[in-house]
């Protein structure tokens, strides 16, 4: 049973709440794109519902010209640094307090998630580096796949995280 974000381990399924994750949203200014913005941070941000990893930061595509940057460096100046680097090409705002992140991994992770996600997570169409902004049980979520175990990270707005955990516990129990 997962409770109060402590985590749960079972054969083929591991659930944990990630702590101290920094978040920032990036919105491209007019005529800017993943390439011109990426230049300033040592790479190119992939366009589309995909992730780009640059250094210790994951950039998740959440819409045309928009990304959610996340890092577990615990740095309180994460968003400020990013804003300084991207000045003129993108607007950056700190979202660190806004989200909770749940990591689900193991053989049965996909099966569990598929009970709530109305998009296809089959490895042929959704694999490492893929991301989706969608809903689970009416709760807005951003999902991105970390590896082929498979491991998924799921960000929910902080105020909805108890509801999300409720869904998780309920779905897991009915396995």
């Amino acid at each position: 049973m997962i409770l109060k974000g402590i985590g749960y381990v079972d054969e083929g399924l591991q659930i944990e709440e990630r702590q101290n994750v920094a978040f920032a949203s990036i919105l491209a200014r007019k005529n800017q794109n993943g390439e011109t913005i990426g230049e300033l941070i040592g790479g190119s941000l992939r366009e589309g519902p995909l992730t780009t990893i640059l250094g210790d930061t994951v950039y998740i595509g959440t819409g045309p010209g928009s990304w959610l940057a996340t890092s577990s460096t615990k740095a309180t100046d994460f968003a400020d640094n990013l804003a300084t680097k991207l000045a003129g090409r993108a607007s950056v705002s700190d979202q660190s307090g806004a989200y909770c992140v749940t990591r689900i991994t193991g053989d049965r992770a996909r099966h569990l998630l598929q009970r709530g996600v109305a998009i296809n997570l089959h490895p042929d169409v959704f694999t490492t580096g893929c991301a989706a902004t969608t809903v689970i049980a009416h709760i807005a979520v951003v999902i991105w796949q970390i590896d082929i175990s498979p491991t998924y990270d799921i960000a929910t707005f902080r105020t909805y995280s108890p509801d999300f955990r409720h869904w998780l516990a309920h779905s897991w129990r009915s396995f």
Binding site: G48, P49, G63, P64, A118
Partner: protein, 86 residues
């Protein structure tokens, strides 16, 4: 009914909000009163293939221009509204 969002892919209608017929641009503040009235209140509302705006609120948060049949719910095309009408 599912809509293939040009950014997000194949999604359930539940993720979208219907924003009505794709009316084209607002007639502008200097237009005559009648043009404004028509724009705000009149709809063609046909049974069959129509162009509509859908807002992908639980996804990429973009307005999508969708061609849909209002009788059969067949979806013919979906593209980002900001990319224009054609």
């Amino acid at each position: 009914m599912r809509i293939v969002c040009p950014y997000c892919g194949d999604r359930d209608t539940e993720e979208f909000i219907f924003r009505g017929e794709a009316l084209g641009r607002h007639p502008g503040l200097n237009s005559d009163e009648y043009a404004m009235f028509e724009h705000v209140y009149h709809r063609t509302n046909l049974s069959g293939k129509t162009s509509e705006h859908w807002y992908h609120v639980q996804g990429c948060r973009n307005w999508i221009l969708v061609e849909r049949d209002t009788l059969t719910h067949t979806i013919y095309s979906a593209r980002l509204a900001k990319d224009g009408e054609s």
